[in-house]
Subunit: 344 residues, 2 copies
């Protein structure tokens, strides 16, 4: 039985990690939990209540795998130190190390071979991890020239506090809206830049000099890196993103338009996607079947559908719509799958 | 003083029409209101309570302008008959006549000259009308080769019943969601294909043989027609859309990526957009300023922002984000502006 640690155990991703370890029947003893403040207890199904200890490098020394569900600053300070004392690997969920040349950025179904022997492995940005489940098989089958992504991102991307702000804000927001649907009173926001209930906020993470947000650039850089290209280089597909927060709780949706290198009939693309691991095709317009948060939330697989020949790019163009659980494929599930590959 | 009729006066668009006529100080007597069932009363600010009569062609005979905020089937049956008995024009909000060669499809700031002398004028699809406020000035300044649109559409697109279903469904939905943000119990849907609270539904209007929905094809066809091209022809820009319903009430947002014919520096594009009528530039990332339903709802102007050089198309590429009130620019305001042009 492996010995596992979770740093940042009381956050949204930390809690999901426990659930995924249990559901995947990950062969480990009760995980050791660490948080910024110790003294808390986290309820787990399989292992009962688990105590949360204050983090120290000594405390994780000798464990097989340590999952970091903490900040980028924490990862910058401690990831290498922890990697030096674990038996197999550290899996970091932050963005801090993702573009480091010596750190593989892994979605196991796509580039899981990079896990073998790596002491430090980065878990991608949630939006990227969800999109790549469909993009990677299309890239393998048809090649990719251009990728344009528009996201519909859930509150969980801002953690438990983000989900709470949306849930707690909905009822007062309803009261602040007139019969005609216009906003009458003000709502408040602390986690998000603006109130999220009944609103849309096209702003996730910090703005960059080129006008894109960092969240958007993560999709560009990380998609290229996972597909094997220099994240900031000119080779490989050109990828752009508009990242938008909407009032949903924990599944991200994404409208994706691609131009492929080879012609890609929509039917052939659907065959490719049907064979891809970690992906469930939901594409039956006649039965109102397509990806939605309602069905993708809590599921391990990413849903893909609305696959059609794109009008703009013609026979080399595809539109698709994906939806995946932000806390699972976008974080905890992908991290556990990385650990499984690293240990295999 | 002109004499005006509103058919479909008790619906969401019908009610907004009265408000817009008043706010624009449209020079008319108290409008005559018609609905499928008569006997109702609609409250108006300026003219007090107005009775709703059952519709008849005789009832609108001799009026200057008749606004149709009814179904496509109604327009197919009656629009020409009404056009034959009005003094100036009929403005139809349905999709039934929009692609007819002899019916101008008008957004007054873009192709308002087509109103003069036309007896029957079509009001565009809401998504198209909102997007074109930004696309038309870009087209005029830089030319347009490719347009890729992803929408974030509000419940009001399904009328008053759609807004009601979202509002009434939110509180039960909250109770059907577990602490971890997963759906626990089922919500219900009648207006929408699936429950909208905390969900995303990538399905608006009927699916077509090419895999796009009719809503998506309306954006393709109507954008081309308003810009002066054959809606279904090969000339002009190639336009594709993914139309998605989200849990907001009455403003549509749209993420738009374009490839232009001439190079289009983002700064030059912002200058062009700043000069365009009916559009308010909201683009100051440092101040968290960008288009949002929270600010665009109830406003006459469409908001545009997040303007940046697109990574995929380079110096000929732009990303932008627009947000506009679906019931105003997307319907009632545009219809009243058409009438003003026709009467001028």
């Amino acid at each position: 039985m492996h010995r596992v640690g979770v740093v940042g155990a009381t956050g949204a991703v930390g809690r999901e990690l426990l659930g995924v370890l249990e559901k995947r029947e990950f062969p480990c003893e009760a995980p050791l939990l660490f948080g910024s403040k110790g003294g808390q207890t986290v309820e787990s199904g399989k292992w009962g209540p688990l105590d949360v200890s204050p983090f120290s490098v000594e405390g994780v020394s000798g464990l097989d795998v340590v999952f970091l569900a903490a900040s980028g600053d924490f990862a910058k300070e401690y990831a290498d130190k922890i990697a030096a004392v674990v038996k197999t690997c550290v899996v970091d969920n932050s963005s801090a190390l993702r573009l480091r040349d010596d750190v593989p950025l892994v979605v196991p179904e796509v580039n899981g071979h990079l896990c073998k022997g790596a002491k430090l492995i980065a878990n991608p940005n949630c939006t990227t991890a969800i999109a790549i489940m469909a993009l990677a098989p299309i890239f393998a089958a048809f090649g990719l020239r251009k990728v344009v992504v528009s996201t519909y991102q859930a509150a969980s991307g801002a953690g438990a506090a983000g989900m709470r702000e949306l849930r707690d804000g909905i009822t007062p927001a309803l009261q602040n809206i007139k019969d005609d649907g216009c906003f009458e009173g003000a709502s408040t926001a602390e986690v998000f830049a603006h109130p999220l209930p009944f609103n849309v906020v096209p702003h996730i993470d910090k703005f960059q000099a080129n006008g894109y947000t960092k969240e958007e650039m993560k999709v560009t850089w990380e998609t290229k890196k996972i597909l094997g290209f220099d994240p900031k280089g000119d080779d490989g597909p050109k990828v752009s993103c508009t990242a938008v927060r909407i009032p949903t709780l924990r599944a991200h949706s994404e409208a994706i338009t691609v131009e492929t290198e080879k012609p890609c009939p929509a039917a052939a693309c659907l065959d490719v996607l049907s064979d891809a691991p970690g992906l469930t095709v939901k594409d039956d317009p006649g039965d109102n079947l397509y990806p939605m948060p309602l069905t993708a939330t809590g599921a391990f697989d990413v849903e893909v559908g609305r696959v059609r020949q794109n009008i703009v790019f013609g026979e080399n163009g595809l539109d698709l719509f994906v939806c995946g659980d932000q806390l699972l494929r976008g974080a905890a599930l992908n991290a556990v799958l990385i650990a499984e590959k690293a240990l295999s």
